[in-house]
């Protein structure tokens, strides 16, 4: 057996420090802490999330009961501070409850696509050869359709509803995620450190877990957060077209569609769901930019 160098007295302390050492994510967090815009944006998103999850606590009105007498009240009406919609339902209540479906339809497809697409992309990139060709050519087929067209086609076939919207959007987001994770994996797998990991006797799964995934996660997370805003808009678009959530459900896209007719009567009220979509997707975009900067270790 080979003897390793003599252990000095302070090496135990060094060992302790190494274990408590700053991980990559901790460094990302430290960099993020200094980025006020991104922090503010994340704050807004967290508030939005809280508001949506605890929706009943934020409004006294029921989002589904309207009143013929109180239709299309303007912003600032006593009792309805954001006014009412075309059937007299409180707009604030509908905004808060509508956020539930909108955020779900915005985040869920991206999350699912991240799982499925990420797995397929890493598999294609790491295994290469025939597996790569099969996965990537199938991806190209899906890529041939613009994502909104693909989503419309799928919901058109499956019918409207929240589940189908999520399914359709998931399918339309899988190709870009496959492509990104495949390209990152392909880049990384030919680097010497993967060879060195193989040379230390590690199997493919261990290498993916410790060497590929942590190099892939940064770019893919940044991309995914930017997809969320696209997804919210697409989901709203599907609802607007009548292919997504069906009335009387509260959903920002659907609300925008319904209030369209009232645009001349009460323009501010009619625009409000759009403002919410705008703010949310804007926040996700800014967060994605901030994350991109914080995650680049070489800066």
């Amino acid at each position: 057996m080979v003897d390793v160098a003599v252990l000095p007295a302070d090496s135990a302390a060094a060992f302790k420090r190494a274990q408590q050492g700053k991980s990559y994510w901790r460094r990302v967090w430290e960099r993020l802490r200094d980025d006020k815009v991104t922090l503010a944006v994340i704050g807004v998103l967290v508030m939005l999330l809280i508001m949506v999850v605890f929706a009943p606590w934020f409004t006294m009105h029921d989002p589904y009961t309207g009143s013929v007498l109180r239709r299309l009240k303007p912003v600032g009406t006593p009792g309805h501070w954001l006014g009412t919609d075309e059937v007299g339902r409180d707009l604030w209540a509908r905004m808060v409850f509508g956020g539930r479906l909108s955020l779900l339809a915005g985040v869920m497809p991206v999350f699912l696509a991240l799982l499925i697409g990420g797995f397929l992309g890493v598999a294609a990139g790491y295994v290469g050869g025939l597996v790569n060709s099969a996965i990537m050519r199938l991806t190209d087929v899906l890529y041939a359709f613009p994502s909104i067209l693909l989503a419309i086609a799928i919901t058109g076939i499956l019918g409207s509803g929240l589940q189908n919207t999520i399914l359709a959007l998931t399918i339309s987001f899988i190709p870009p995620i496959i492509r990104i994770s495949e390209s990152v994996t392909t880049q990384v797998r030919h680097l010497d450190f993967v060879e060195a990991a193989r040379a230390s006797g590690a199997g493919p799964l261990t290498i993916m877990r410790y060497h590929i995934l942590n190099n892939m996660l940064g770019p893919i997370l940044v991309y995914a957060t930017s997809l969320i805003s696209v997804c919210i808009i697409l989901a709203a678009g599907l609802s607007f077209l009548g292919l997504g959530v069906t009335p009387p459900s509260a959903e920002w896209g659907l609300m925008l569609n319904n209030l369209r007719q009232a645009l001349w009567v009460s323009p501010l009220v009619a625009a409000l769901p759009g403002v919410m979509i705008f703010i949310t997707s804007m926040c996700f975009n800014l967060m994605s930019d901030g994350l991109r900067q914080a995650m680049d270790v070489r800066l």
Binding site: M1, V4, F15, A18, D192, A196, A202, H211, N214
Partner: protein, 371 residues
Amino acid sequence: MSVAKDAALLVGAPRSNVRGKPGRIGTDEVIGQTRPLLAVENLTKHFALKGGLLNRTKAVVQAVDDVSFNVQTGETLGIVGESGCGKSTTARLLMHLIPPDIGSIVFDGLVVGAADGGLSHRDLHRQMQMVFQESYASLNPRLPVAMSIAFGPFVHGLAKPAALKRAMKLLEAVGLDPILFANRYPHELSGGQRQRINIARALALEPRIVILDEAVSALDKSVEAQVLNLLVDLKAQFDLTYVFISHDLNVVRYISDRVMVMYLGKVAEIGPVEHLYRDPQHPYTQALLSAMPSMDPRRRTLKAPLAGDPPNPISPPSGCRFRTRCPFAEAVCETAPPALMAPPGEELRAVACHMRVPGSGHSRAATVVSA
């Protein structure tokens, strides 16, 4: 926890068991020499260049062709040659990072990858490690360097804290303060520091043989010297055997006990370093050595020892591969590839040249004793 305990935690066969395994070939005494630590025979790797609509094989690159050599326990074998001569491919074949087409690798009497009782690739990796040329690319940019070093032992079953502890000791051994360096990322280190980390990583599995593939070539001259000295120290400290691949003849002369010269995927000459540098037998070795920059301005190289580039390994010349650039090429060189044989009177060396084989048909074969 003691070092011995750390090592005992590693799963897989400890060294003492490897020796007793069945499936070993050869005896301990081979013609007056001890059994080599590493015996490579007829190692061949041809890469198929595919292309076209049906992905047909268009051409074959003969990267490594019928290469045989031994490495004795405790020695440093230098491998030199121009770029593209198959040095790195040989290294990768030895590490089994790419599978060979033909040929066998016998490690300490055990056939690597043999189905019954040979040495598995996983066990081989515990005994043989490699340092790569590019210090940055060979470290994961997302892992602190201590984690990179600890990865090998961790993969082989050592618990993470114990593996990290070993990494700390190795950092110490390669001359980097663990307190300062353990948690750094590769981009926070200089090239020399990174290469030290790579060396520590290679040593983490306590291998007996380390392949250094151009390990110091990318470093500054002063840093290169430091790392070379470190390698020499580590070799003594850990009882290592080196296969040292380089294109730098001075460095190879400094560190090697024996040198193997490769040309276009074949071994041109192999022998003890001082014999080979003092009296090169193969015309290619002669040309290579005369291309070494002289430190003495009065003895500067006046004319280029060799013209042109090596031929394409896709369709290497028939017979002797060096004949297209050899000043002594004759008809026999075109027809028959020269075998790697010991020249008359020199048992320790081997040369693949018709001129060194009496009766080969080359006009200089009988007359030339030494160029």
